[in-house]
Amino acid sequence: MIRVQREDFDIGAEIAALTDGNHAIGGVASFTGLVRDMAGDAGIGAMTLEHYPGMTEKALARIEAEAQERWPLQASLIIHRYGRLEPGDRIVLVVTASAHRQAAFDSAMFLMDYLKTQAPFWKLEETGEGAQWVDARESDDHALARWAPKTGKADAAE
């Protein structure tokens, strides 16, 4: 399930809605991304997340479908917000549920790595020196590379 929304989300309620009543689930991994006070060296006040309506949903749905193909997931969820967000605000939620814990962890990491590098969102930070577009990070590309098909990570479920 994927959602792109301006509104905040409730982590506990989302996990419950996704997993309640499914007794084949042994483990649920989640990751929540928050707006940090410090990005690099300049303290930031707030940020605005721009996105590409239409393509965003397609990109998230494809990323989720690929995770479902690679790991034996019982359920999965991606929520990504857009609009103006302040320090401490939730930006993104990824939840994966599987019979085994490693499949849940690995697929949640995979979803986050793909989101960071593939989903059409852009962060504009409000800094002391005015608004500034966040630069893409090489470390995110490196994180993505570990999921290349040759690594055989798809079989890593315990």
Partner: protein
């Protein structure tokens, strides 16, 4: 052809979207970027390094040699920074 710009590409070009009809010799994404760069200083600045900007045609990432046709929705934007 509908063009969409995002983030600093949008700011440098000065508009979020526009409808264009490139000349017949523009047949692929690389050709479109070259043609756009000649439209003004904002375009030239936004698109000066073709290896940096990303292009999606009909909401799918494409490479520079991707062919274009009249009804396409072409989006041009910087590397993404969500998550």
């Amino acid at each position: 052809m509908k063009l969409l710009y995002f983030a600093w590409v949008r700011q440098k070009i000065g508009t979020a979207e526009e409808e264009v009809t490139p000349p017949a010799e523009v047949t692929d994404v690389a050709g479109l970027l070259d043609w756009l760069k000649a439209r003004g200083p904002g375009y030239a600045e936004a698109l000066k390094d073709a290896r940096v900007v990303k292009v999606a045609v009909n909401q799918e990432y494409v490479r520079p040699d991707h062919p274009l046709k009249p009804g396409d929705e072409v989006a041009i934007f910087p590397p993404v920074t969500g998550g």
